[in-house]
Amino acid sequence: MKESTIMKIHYGTALASVGLVAVHILMRLTTGFADSLSYENVLANYQSVPYVIMLELILILLAVHGFNGLRVILLELKQGRVYEKAVSYGSMVGMIVLIGYGSRTIIMTNMGMT
């Protein structure tokens, strides 16, 4: 993939996640911070399909943005064909693992498998 395409994705995920993360944080202020973190309230959030979709989107957007940022920092620290390939593929693996693990939590909780 061309570097310009990767960076457009980086910028796009950043912009898209700003609003969604703001909503995610504001949800914690609706019923009082401590109450919003109670087991029942969190479980109720996970039962709401729009909220679950939002969570999944945040997960994917931030995983892509974060791991690409890490990839950029690591690429600048050291150079070499083998190292650069390891960093690029390692970032992708990290991204996929995090999305997979987070999606597991979201889907299982939404399905009531707690």
Binding site: Y39, T105, T109
Partner: protein, 143 residues
């Protein structure tokens, strides 16, 4: 990076002291980005405790809903707000917005790209981050 290229290394990348607020913003962007990535990974892991039922979730809350946890979260809020605000400034700059216009240079050769718009953007991000941290702490400690 080879020794004989006389590169500064990480010390050079992480030394913000010589080139003004824009270089400090560059360093803070990196630090907040790494910090937020670390927090995000931990957050995804910790919130998976919901799958362990009420007891698992309450154990997780007992660990995080503490004074130290709240201070840590306030720092995360600050990092998030700075990274977002400065990120928007940088994205606009990357498109050529707010970096001035080309002109025939004249002594003392002040660079137009390091203009007041960029400085306002950086300082605003820092101030907004501080305000967000204070609001966050007011919410968390106020209950």
């Amino acid at each position: 990076m080879t020794e004989d290229e006389h590169r500064e290394g990480i010390k050079g990348m992480a030394n913000p002291g010589r080139y003004g607020i824009e270089r400090i913003a560059y360093l803070l962007m990196r630090l907040t980005g790494l910090g937020l990535l670390g927090y995000f990974i931990a957050h995804v892991y910790e919130t998976s405790n919901i799958l362990r039922g009420r007891m698992g979730w309450d154990d997780f809350l007992a660990m995080t809903q503490t004074t130290e946890g709240h201070i840590f979260l306030a720092l995360v809020i600050g990092m998030c707000v700075f990274h977002t605000g400065n990120g928007i400034r940088i994205m606009l700059g990357h498109g050529g917005v707010g970096v001035g216009n080309p002109a025939r240079p004249d002594y003392p050769y002040q660079p137009a790209s390091q203009n007041y718009r960029q400085k306002i953007g950086i300082y605003s991000s820092i101030v907004l981050a501080a305000v967000a941290m204070m609001y966050g702490m007011a919410v968390m400690f106020g209950e």
